[in-house]
């Protein structure tokens, strides 16, 4: 039975990458007497970096149906935010997506700034660009580490974690905390860049630009890695847009869309960078997009640091803001490491939000896991879902 499956698989895998390697399950079942079974992967499962469940229906080794189950980390974030004053939501926003905590805090602050009708100083905007990109690098390195373990290699995990520690150090230099930083403020940032921060971050960037090639070499030069990722989890751009998939997974299918460039926020329009886009739409394209994004982030950090330096030491970095927000409806969007995140705020003139909604990219991306996993093998499921880069804190909220 296995040998038969194999020939079927190789036939389709040899074709053009635009085709999804779909196995004709119905015909195969008719040929031989096989039982399908549900395999429940999760919530405690090594592939589910977080707390979620993927129910897959397998026919031998081939996945014929998949159903994601989330909600194991739901704590009613939006409801709790309705009971907190505005400044107290900042540390909560840090804990939405803990792999890149500053992005959500930045998004929250942008939303409230918009509702207040203020524009934070330029210096704060550039510092936040640096912080965002540091967090993007951290998050992508965590993802790279997870790709290593998901494909069965522990070396990639440890090397990526080693590089991640340097970016953690940069976080510590900037604001004193490793992960949940509590750094952005409504109307600016908490503190100016510390002394010699520019020297450190340029050194860190330059080190990273060299060191990342160790890890990339380990993956790209190995044909097993590449063959595990190529031609799996293929989506077309139309499917991708319709299913609401955003971020690197969308850019891996050939849709040239990045909020940092196409809907610029926070002085990203003053910075010159490329948006990597690949057309294949498989796991390998998503991997390549993310790796290229890491290098682009280094480029952005260097430019933003130069702008901060040009603004001088005495430039303001924070505005005083009132505690009450005038009534109204506002939303802001931000390019998360994982996709498009959005916050929608309804304020009623008091010091607490009336409704604060978080749009999490992973929440929508994971709902497409049925389309991603259909027709692949059990061994491909972790490889495909690793490219979604799960972060359950924001998914379940």
């Amino acid at each position: 039975m296995m040998a038969d499956d194999n020939s079927e698989q190789t036939k389709t895998a040899g074709q053009m990458p635009a085709m999804k390697p779909v196995v004709d399950v119905a015909a195969e079942t008719a040929k031989m007497e096989t039982d399908k079974m549900w395999v429940i992967m999760g919530p405690q499962h090594p592939f589910s970096h977080g707390l979620w469940t993927l129910k897959i229906k397998v026919d031998g080794e081939i996945v014929t149906d998949a159903e994601p189950i989330v909600g194991y980390l739901h704590r009613g974030w939006e409801k709790e935010a309705e009971n907190r004053p505005y400044p107290k939501i900042i540390p909560m926003a840090d804990r939405l997506c803990y792999a890149a905590s500053m992005t959500y805090t930045h998004l929250y602050c942008m939303t409230v700034e918009k509702a207040l009708g203020i524009d934070p100083p330029d210096k704060a905007k550039y510092i936040m660009i640096i912080a965002d990109e540091i967090n993007r690098l951290q998050s992508h390195l965590m993802w790279l580490a997870a790709v290593g373990t998901d494909l069965g290699n522990f070396t990639v995990f440890l090397w990526a974690m080693r590089e991640r520690e340097y970016w953690m150090d940069m976080n510590v230099r900037l604001c004193g905390a490793r992960m949940t930083t509590n750094y952005p403020r409504i109307g600016g940032v908490r503190n100016d860049t510390p002394e010699l921060f520019d020297r450190d971050i340029i050194r860190c960037t330059e080190h990273f630009e060299k060191a990342v090639w160790d890890i990339i070499g380990l993956i790209d030069d190995s044909s097993i890695y590449v063959s595990r990722m190529k031609n799996t989890g293929i989506l077309t751009p139309e499917q991708c847009a319709n299913l609401g998939i955003t971020g690197p997974a969308l850019r891996g299918t050939g849709v040239d869309f990045d909020l940092r460039r196409d809907d610029p926020y926070s002085n990203y329009d003053q910075i010159d960078f490329d948006v990597p886009v690949l057309k294949q739409g498989d796991s390998y394209a998503r991997y390549m997009v993310r790796v290229e994004e890491m290098l682009q982030s280094c480029k952005i950090i260097k430019q933003a640091m130069a702008k901060v330096r040009a603004l001088g030491k005495n430039a303001p970095y924070r505005l005083k803001v009132p505690s009450n927000v005038p009534a109204g409806r506002h939303f802001a969007k931000l390019e998360d490491p994982r996709g498009e995140s959005m916050m929608y705020l309804i304020s009623d003139g008091t010091d607490k939000p009336y409704r604060l909604k978080v749009r999490s990219p992973i929440f929508v991306n994971v709902s497409a896991s049925r389309e991603l996993c259909m027709g692949c093998r059990i061994a491909d499921v972790p490889a495909i879902m690793a490219m979604i880069d799960m972060c359950l804190g924001e998914t379940d909220r």
Binding site: N6, W159, R162, Y225
Partner: protein
Amino acid sequence: MPMVYSSILDWVNFPDIMANPYYPFETYNLPYDISQKLWEIIGGTIAWLINLLFPGNPVSEWLVCDMTVNFFALIIFMIVVFLVVFIGILISLWEERKVLGRTMDRRGTMVGMKGFLQCVADGFKTFMKEDTQPRKVDRMTYMWTVSLVIGTSMLIACMIPLSDRWYVVNYNTGLLLIMGLFALAPFFILVSGWSQNNKYSLIGGMRAAEMMISYEIPMLILIATACLMAGTFNIGGIVQAQYDTMPYFIPQCIGFVTFFVCANAEAERTPFDLAEAESELVEGWQTEYAGMKWGLIMLADYMRGYVSCAMITILYLGGWNLPFIGDLNNYVPELVFLLKTWLVFFAMIIVRAALPRVRTDQILNLGWKVFMPLSIINLVIVLLLKMGGVF
């Protein structure tokens, strides 16, 4: 006429082991020699003590007669052979954890003696843990298959000769016997995976059987090729033939590489650890095993790794002989053999550190479309060499 025994030296005298009429081997056997001498000391001391209390009793005489010495020497022989292999395996386990740690830029384990006692700690811990048995398992197969996996692995690990004087059996077809037992484990894994009433272990067991059909045939062809080159199935004969000509990894370089990969698969090490693929099947076929059973399964894994490396050493690296040193080979061939085995294991560790796991269809492709032609090319090369009279 009973002898008069006055001192312990009368009881403990080391006779020539070959002179014993019940000597079970045909040639000189070092571990048997050691164990017989050990029993001379132990049994002779006991006999002397008993003789002190009850002079002229028959038990003392019995304890040092040829047949009894043979019997107890065989028991000690088993222990000696097992202990040496066991310590060798513990060292390879330690080697794996340290080398793996170093390739990953960390120190590896540091528990006692630079981490050597880590495996001892793991062993004691698993011994102490509660032995759970899930409610709905098929009890008989659950217990027996795992015992068989461990038992066969231990058997073949002990059956590998360390030199022409350190062996358990000296069959003319010893190699075939070892390979036959080595290939049994996937069947037990299949049944064990089914018996656990767990879907992960079921898939893991199926994968083990599926994988076996892909690497087993090229591997057997390669073994047959090496035997053809040496002209014998006897392990000692193969090693001697390599000493007389050259180590076989030079003429059979294709076969050497292919066999190395197949041996990796046979020992179920990364990149071929499909049966216990951690990222998708939680722990694969071992998911439901706890405590001592699981500890022994891990030990059996390393035993199979050791056997794989030993097969490579025997078939391609010239076994326990080193070239160009002539008669110096007679001193510690066992140590040379173990060092070569650890060297091969080092290569396996590097492979493990560098590669991810392959997929089921990939290993089938690899087995039938790459290894199979390569092994046949290797066979053709050897045939040409044979016909040309080089060997």
